[in-house]
């Protein structure tokens, strides 16, 4: 593939993204213009810049939550490169299940599903033995200090911070070659923040490509192998 370094796992080529708000006087918001970047396994990249500079937008485009009308987003999936911008839905489902994990800022809570079941759902989807999946889920919940008596309850009754930790548990319980993290430490206390940073480091060490948005400067420093300043939008990757 032209312009793709041999060991990149995710390559973005000249993407463009805008939003047109038809019911707000047709306001047009251009967020990304001619943006290109490569990402590599075993490396943590932090996106920085003021709000509106396209950090979350970029993450969402990489997960195909936002559509890409111009440009390519090439993901190494099952040893081949797939362009997420034009891939078939069934391929995107596969990529989301096996190749790219995404921890957003919000947990979508289902009222009757227990916290434990929410956490192990990606493992069950990968057809892991349910008992093994439950064990892994419990490990993860313990690590994130969710009290055991809450495990069988629906996360809909949890506090914001607890919900975020369920979200994180679910995001990290299954290994992914690429991980997208959108403000994962936002509502966490220092102890839990330390745990999450440890989880991220472990993932990177195991070979994952981690791409994240963090507001906390010290968190950024602890994790980043490189930083990308989105405010410039012409994107000179800066070595940390």
């Amino acid at each position: 593939m032209k312009g793709t370094p041999l060991n990149s796992i995710l390559t973005i080529i000249n993407i463009y993204k805008d939003f047109i708000f038809h019911h707000q006087q047709g306001t047009r918001l251009q967020v990304l213009n001619n943006f290109s970047m490569e990402f590599f396994p075993g490396q943590a990249t932090i996106l920085t810049g003021p709000s509106g500079s396209g950090k979350s937008t970029l993450l969402r485009m990489m997960y195909a939550v936002y559509r890409t009308e111009k440009g390519k987003i090439l993901v190494k999936h099952k040893k081949k490169f797939v362009d997420i911008a034009t891939a078939q839905p069934s391929v995107i489902y596969e990529i989301r299940q096996e190749t790219i994990g995404y921890v957003s800022q919000f947990l979508r809570v289902l009222p009757r599903v227990s916290a434990l079941d929410t956490v192990i759902e990606p493992l069950i989807a990968r057809k892991m033995d349910p008992q093994k999946a439950v064990e892994k889920g419990k490990e993860m919940l313990s690590r994130l200090r969710i009290p055991q008596n809450l495990w069988h309850l629906s996360a809909s009754t949890f506090s914001g911070g607890e919900q975020q930790r369920i979200n994180l548990a679910r995001g990290f319980v299954a290994p992914y070659p690429i991980m997208l993290l959108d403000e994962p430490t936002a509502s966490l206390d220092p102890e839990n923040r330390k745990t999450v940073i440890a989880l991220i480091k472990e993932a990177v060490q195991a070979g994952s490509c981690v791409i994240g948005v963090f507001h906390n400067a010290s968190d950024q420093k602890k994790i980043a192998d490189r930083t990308i300043d989105m405010s410039q939008n012409s994107c000179q990757p800066m070595e940390a």
Binding site: F19, I20, F21, H22, H23, R60, A64, V65, Y66, R67, Q88, P89, S90, V91, I92, Y93, E94, R96, Q97, L110, P111, R112, V113, E121, A125
Partner: protein, 263 residues
């Protein structure tokens, strides 16, 4: 929304250029889409958008004016619009399911819950009362209806229970595809939540393929992999569920999405 459908060479359903006109009035027009095995697609839009009309055409309950509905049945990849009625009825009876908005249309209200579930089994030749009853009991458990109610009439059930009974009565023959027409309409929010959860579990456990017509985008998001937005009889936008709901492009889609009440 869980479960990851796999690509097959032929889709389970391919709707091609489907149109339904009532005289000069358009019900739906130039509808094109495909459904893969294990996929749930939601068709959303407001009343009068033509979504129920479309679903009924796919289900064989309405004659189409134009177009094809190719179904990957056990008899081959055939166009339901041109299939002879005997074959069509056979396919519909055992390989498809249709859950209507109005339970009294989809159930025999004068027959017990067990009888409703058992009817398809009996229609397909099952002749052992004990076995029919056992299967009916298992399905009542699956859709979370108290098995003590097996011999009760559906008219004594709440709306949510009637809907779940309809689902059981349709799934009992293990159909390849199930079509649902506004299954949560008219139900209380808590009842809706239970129904949606039952559906979610069934979809993932049975690898169900489903087309869900609803005007409720929140329901569509919870259950569907992909969404089609209909307006005035046409599909105006389509994509993955989170794409439609988080990145709506068309003006009408934006209007629909912005109207979802968030708690």
């Amino acid at each position: 929304m869980t479960g990851m459908p796999k690509q097959n060479t032929l889709p389970l359903l391919r709707v091609k250029n489907l149109s339904k006109f009532y005289g000069k009035t358009m019900g739906c027009h130039e509808i094109n889409f495909e459904l893969g095995k294990g996929e749930v697609i939601g068709i959303v839009g407001e009343s009068g958008s033509g979504k129920s009309t479309l679903l009924k055409c796919i289900a064989g309950k309405l004659d189409t004016t134009n177009g094809s509905v190719f179904f990957n049945s056990s008899f081959g990849f055939i166009d339901l619009c041109t299939t002879q009625e005997a074959m069509l009825r056979k396919i519909i009876r055992s390989q498809t399911g249709f859950v209507t908005q109005n339970s009294s249309e989809g159930l025999r209200m004068g027959i017990s819950a067990g009888g409703n579930i058992g009817e398809r089994l009996m229609a397909n030749g099952m002749r052992n009362y004990g076995q029919i009853r056992k299967i009916a009991q298992q399905w009542l458990e699956t859709v979370e209806i108290d098995t003590d109610r097996m011999d009760d009439l559906p008219s004594t059930f709440s709306g949510g229970m009637q809907q779940r009974l309809q689902i059981a009565a349709n799934l009992v023959t293990d159909p390849k595809i199930i079509l649902m027409d506004e299954p949560t309409s008219g139900l209380d929010v808590s009842v809706q939540a239970r129904l949606i959860d039952v559906l979610r579990k069934l979809v993932s456990r049975l690898n169900l393929s489903m087309i869900l017509v609803t005007h409720d985008l929140a329901v569509a998001r919870l259950l569907s992999h992909r969404l089609y937005v209909m307006k005035e009889g046409r599909i105006i936008e389509s994509g993955l569920s989170d794409q439609i709901l988080d990145d709506p492009r068309e003006p009408y889609t934006q209007l629909l999405v912005s109207s979802i009440l968030k708690p």
